[in-house]
Symmetry: D2
Subunit: 485 residues, 4 copies
């Protein structure tokens, strides 16, 4: 049942999308629409909590797509009220199998002053230690999810209001996370002190919305107001938006990979459409690594904007040399051996008549394990291409992410074990070039490139420089890059 | 349950895809893959019949996508053997509701010399009269599908072999159709005398495949051999491919809309990729109807290749001004009122930051009812575009198709009631231009344009000139274009 | 999914129940209730056809229980109108698996004068020959069910009305069958010339009902009018009930096993409740085979009335020594090995404290394979019973039934290979006695016992004397009892 | 989905059955079988937890019957290991709807020394107060079930072992409850100090079982060892059974209604089969309230043993005047209006031919609201009975139960508002007699009848004398019987 893409093990995956609305009728329907627009951030499961004076808190959590679970009259009627929050998630480190529905957010807790629900995107890097201590003191965990720690910390807080308790709880957690939460009447949003994960504020009628990305504001017809600031906590009710800054201020470190791949091209980040940023990345790439060829083709769909940029910069015609099967939203259920072996052909097909005898530049967003790149190169050569040149819209991915992104173990990352030249030989292509880290910074708008002293973004997956110490992972034996390197 | 696209009522829809394989192990798995590649030709339901000496004929028919129904080990094990055929279909004029699974092809019939299964793409234009006569003589119909006539005609034939009976039956039916059929050991393919609907032959190992399009040969790794000829019947078994020509020869009239929209861009028609043909259409359109603007944007996804062609010809940059939600493969089930009203926003979002203050050329494949074009124009203007120019990659669709394509009644077709100028005003855009019929013929490779005496293609939906008389429809009151016109 | 009882392979099973209503609003709801009351006659699947002037014929066919399939508002709304017929069935000789839903009755056929639906209980003994001939002449069968022959014979008839065509068709079929059928306005009922299978007529308000048993008239509040006569065909419409007698008259041979086991105890057969007849059988058995003991216990639930009769006649107290688990309506789905081995304990438990040290008479309705009897005896002895005496409310079942009852092959019938004494030793009980054939005839009301020249009932399963030649079975190699025997 | 009986609102309902096994392979399969045998104690949902050294704790919780949920290889394989406990439950006061699966036991908690699962039958009468206090101190409840209090009390205990913590937790709860619990290696059973709810110990091979009733030991082939004593806590592991007595000793007060209705007739209570006790009740009733009549008929199935006893004592023949439809295990899903109105006829049918012109004694186990009794009386009279005499195998039910039994509010109980004579007139029967409270005590083996000073049983539903103060209910406004009464 849990859907998956055939290339999923060869992409980094954002693990969550969050959305909340207050001050509108049938808030849960807006949340369902918002989550639908954020489905690319998590396809395994989704959950919605709403509150209504007559029925109290209501919750529904389901495996599968928003469109299949949160659209019928029947289910939406069970989620009444003017305030609601929701969550979509990818598979996480939590338990799999029978009881995994317990790990689907939002989580709910009943406190002496009333209930609250909470959903988060990101990762708490000291969750294991917190969990051990809470159990020692008598907390009963209902899930294997790190996020449940926040609810238990709130339950043990002496704070008089739920926002007070949340502030107190959040000061004890480390990591990179954005949070949407709700009480009976208040919608709450938080970004971690570094602002690693995104969160934006929107206005809809007399109400307000919080969302991982602006594309989800568009779908409900909300106006994009501003990004929540790193370290900011907003508490929203009938009288408006109140800002708190519970954390010690730090320079921000937004995830640069949101620009490269995670966010939708129609979302706005830093005042510019993600699509344009990606087109810029393609232009930078064409400047850094030109090559003589007949066609620029994207690896669909994520390589498309950068391929267009590459074409515009280089003057080499853009063409769809690879066609994606529209009907692959979910992978084949329980596929037979034969179907599994079809691999990439189930999803992509080469435009043989177009490619034959051509020198082709293939633009992809990233190389993770390299398994897909290899298969695509073979398809292109089988179709009669004369040359294949790979251009990659991100630097080599050499380090795992511990901030809410699902990455393979370090030794599975192609760039962790090979140089660019070795990768080129490994993939057996005519050339392989990645955009430089500085080039990427330029493309996202940092004219001077990366500030090595104090990088403007979190780029740990490329640089190995982790802005928050991954305490739980170190405990499990992960080795950081030596400071000297 | 039956999936549908949100714009379905504003597109012409191919009603069927057919596929067959003989001479390979587990033929049904290849058929499942082939049908998956043909899913764009019919998403409502699918069926597969296979034959195996030990288990005889086996059949499975299901509503929904191939990937959800014909992929599990469990179901594929019920379809063993070295020969199989399959079918995907859109909703047709057959009965809806409880018993509609009976209308899902392939149909099976037991004759005195053994069984046969048959699946077809297209429409039998004298089905009503045939059905009446067959019932009069004692045939019991199990479905409301026109295709079942063929089985009953075969049952009543005195022919000694199944191919003989099929020849005899086909001579009695009128219309536009491609057929794949199977006996215990033979795979059979037929195209109607005009060759309106497509059918191609492929070679896979020691076996053979028949498919509506070449893209489905690619997915199973089969080599494209040739198109089945108009009026040709091929009978394939262990010893190879035998050709028969049961019909009186006529000049061919292939469906020109297959080039415009129905076929997948990676399929090959007339020796050239459909993608290139569509790029050509875009170039023709740029020549015929240039306009000064900042961006050329496709209406995703079907307008993409023509938009690229328009950009290449005009030099105006190509950009993805409209982003399609990847997770709309199926529409929302039982959507709530609020979700229904979201309409087009569930599927498409405008890249606001990109579009703002720009003069935009929107390239779409066709205008049917015009309802979607209107909504898209509004989205673009809401996002702040300065001008909107529509360019359409086909001539005005003014006549319904009776040859296996689902079209609205004539009075619902925008072009049936309005001139090009009226449509422009109706849509309230800065300009609206369709490719000319001659331009379309040139783009598909007819350098001299359309031969008015004897058109090279079936273009009835544009011209109102029907190459086969739609007998059943005339009986129901449809009025043909006066010959004088 | 198909439900089954754990002892099913050790009981004869009636294969069908039929029910029809005309002249009431929402006829299909009455049919659903009637079928629910007839569920004991067939638990695998059920179907209903109704007709309504606005919607024509409608049909629903489902695997599983009536209560689970034909009770929701949603499904019943698809079956509107003042006339409907229905059918419940056990698994038959038809195909199993994917397509078996095609074998679920009623069957529907469209004739030149309109449609008709038909359902039958029983068996057509010359179905194979008829099917071969019909296929030869061009009929296409949609199911593997014998009953479909009737529809095809009707389609080929030259009769002017549907009842005429049905008469003509029925004259060509041999066997034992009751039929309910419907046209747009007429309800039709037929019993075969020997009247082997039951069919009764009821009155409900201004309308009429036909049913396999009277208990299904009770549930809808209909009044029991009379049994349909052997060889009678009734045609019912607004103006009342017309009788036809299409067959050559013959002495009747009603199935005596309906009295013993098939019919529900609250049904009325021959003017007396089946419960009383079974109590009578118990009394006869007590007269024929008395034994000194402490308790008379039924094998639940079918042995209960005969056990009560045995107790009343013998004066030995009646007690429930074996308790049936109420929650075994369906068997365990895909049971694990361990659960399968639990066998009879899943369904029955001995009342240990009651049975201990007692001499127990166990009364059961029949012994088919003897497997269950053995297990029950072991349970009773394990619980500490001092003696176990079996008393069986039917004669030894030594011959298979070919008239609509599912029986094991002859060699699997315990009584086909062993004498009564051998069976007693085989089961290792202190005594085993069957009622005599004459005793059974007396219990059902034939004071003089069985008329050997011209038996009053069909008792082929006991006597091997088949009133209709089982042509299809002889063709498959079945050997009749030599006439001399 | 949640199954229910059509008379459910007219019966008291036991709310739970519990079962646990340790020391056998695949313990969960035995638990599934045990729960199947206890299904009459709760049909809404069931859950099983098992532990296995390799996989830790595993859990499955489902709505519906054991036979449908816990029998497939696939599900049972997810519950491996040599120790398991399970629970079946009726709907309780917990939340209904979307999230109710959270309320299905067993509950699981992770403590610093390892995990534990717990299931209970009965009711904690001070749960509301406990819950409030626990939330105040920071516990997060995952369900609305009272039983979860025990887990949280354990989590907060300072006890060094899980059994120590459970002892400490149980001393804080009030009410009537039996508990089965498990750690990784130990099976634990507890009965409340009064022993209101049942719990028995069984031996199976080298392992042990705990069960609500002995009938569930029979199904797995376990030997019945003894009842757990009131106030006893047993801790079972490889080395055997250890007894603890954590509570202050009190005279026992076992639920007398277990004898009347809740327990299965083949279970053993107090050394005698429940069936025999019920037969005794019938004999007492015949002595106390004789009447001249032709037949003694049970209201099936619960009135059967008492009817047999009445018949044996009175000499009036026993007969099945009312037949129960075997296929009513679950009620009709979403029944249509018409089906709902059929009411009792869906479940019961009168044996019309048997009843006509007879004077009938109907024996039922209890009268709760009286609605069913009325309908049955009408059916019997409609069938032509001359007289109807009701004999009830329990005293008038005039008070609700707060100890784990679902009873209507006091004002809905017929006996709370009417005298015996008034009820007789209300039901319009020829006579209506209940067994006396002393008669019932005699039938269950108390030769001297009830000891009014210190009753031997809990009979609060008849007497209004509650052995444990129902604190939560008093808080909600329930009024106890005045002491003076």
């Amino acid at each position: 049942m849990p859907p998956a893409h055939p290339f999923d093990d060869d992409k980094l995956r954002e693990e969550c999308g969050i959305f909340g609305v207050v001050g509108v009728q049938d808030a849960s329907t807006f949340v369902a629409l918002g989550l639908h627009a954020l489905q690319h951030r998590g396809q395994e499961a989704g959950g919605i909590v709403s509150h209504d004076p007559d029925h109290g808190f209501n919750q529904a959590r389901r495996f599968g797509y928003v469109r299949d679970n949160f659209t019928s009259q029947k289910i939406m009627e069970t989620l009444p009220g003017p305030i609601a929050i929701g969550h979509v998630r990818y598979s996480t480190s939590g338990s799999k199998g029978q009881t995994a529905i317990r790990d689907v957010q939002p989580f709910f807790g009943e406190f002496s002053m009333g209930g609250a629900a909470i959903a988060h995107n990101g990762n708490i890097t000291n969750a294991n230690a917190l969990r051990r201590e809470l159990i020692e003191r008598g907390s009963i965990f209902q899930s294997s999810s790190d996020s449940e720690c926040i609810i238990h910390l709130m339950a043990r807080s002496m704070g008089r209001s739920i926002p007070d308790r949340m502030e107190e709880a959040l000061r004890k957690v480390e990591g990179a996370f954005s949070v949407v939460a709700m009480t009976r009447t208040k919608l709450i949003g938080v970004r971690d002190p570094l602002g690693v994960r995104p969160l934006v504020l929107g206005k809809i009628g007399d109400g307000w919305a919080l969302s991982s990305e602006t594309c989800a504001l568009d779908i409900i017809g909300a106006e994009f107001v501003r990004e929540i600031r790193p370290g900011e906590m907003v508490v929203i009710n009938g009288s408006g938006v109140q800002s708190h800054f519970p954390f010690r201020p730090q320079p921000s470190r937004f995830c640069i990979f949101e620009h490269v791949y995670f966010s939708r091209p129609d979302s706005i980040l830093g005042g510019r459409s993600v699509y344009e940023t990606r087109e810029n990345i393609g232009r930078e790439l064409a400047k850094e690594s030109p090559v003589d060829a007949d066609l620029v083709c994207p690896v669909p769909d994520s390589g498309t904007p950068a391929a267009i940029g590459y074409s515009l910069q280089s003057g080499i015609p853009y063409a769809m040399g690879i066609i994606r099967n529209q009907y692959m939203g979910r992978t084949f259920i329980e596929p037979t051996e034969q179907i599994r072996n079809m691999g990439v052909r189930l999803k992509l097909n080469v435009n043989r008549a177009l490619i034959k005898d051509k020198r082709v530049i293939l633009v992809d967003d990233s190389v993770v394990r390299g398994t897909t790149s290899r298969k695509i190169k073979e398809m292109i050569l089988d179709a009669g291409a004369r040359e294949v040149h790979f251009r990659i819209a991100s630097p080599p991915t050499a380090w795992p992410c511990f901030y809410g992104v699902d990455t393979p173990q370090r030794e599975k990352l192609l760039a962790a074990t090979m140089s660019e030249d070795e990768m080129c030989r490994h993939l057996a292509v005519d050339s392989l070039k990645f955009i430089s880290l500085d080039g990427l910074y330029r493309a996202v708008g940092e004219a001077q490139g990366r500030n090595a002293e104090c990088p403007q973004y979190c780029d740990a997956c490329f640089s190995g420089e982790y802005p928050v110490e991954p305490a739980d992972m170190l405990e499990q034996g992960f080795e950081m890059k030596p400071a000297a390197e």
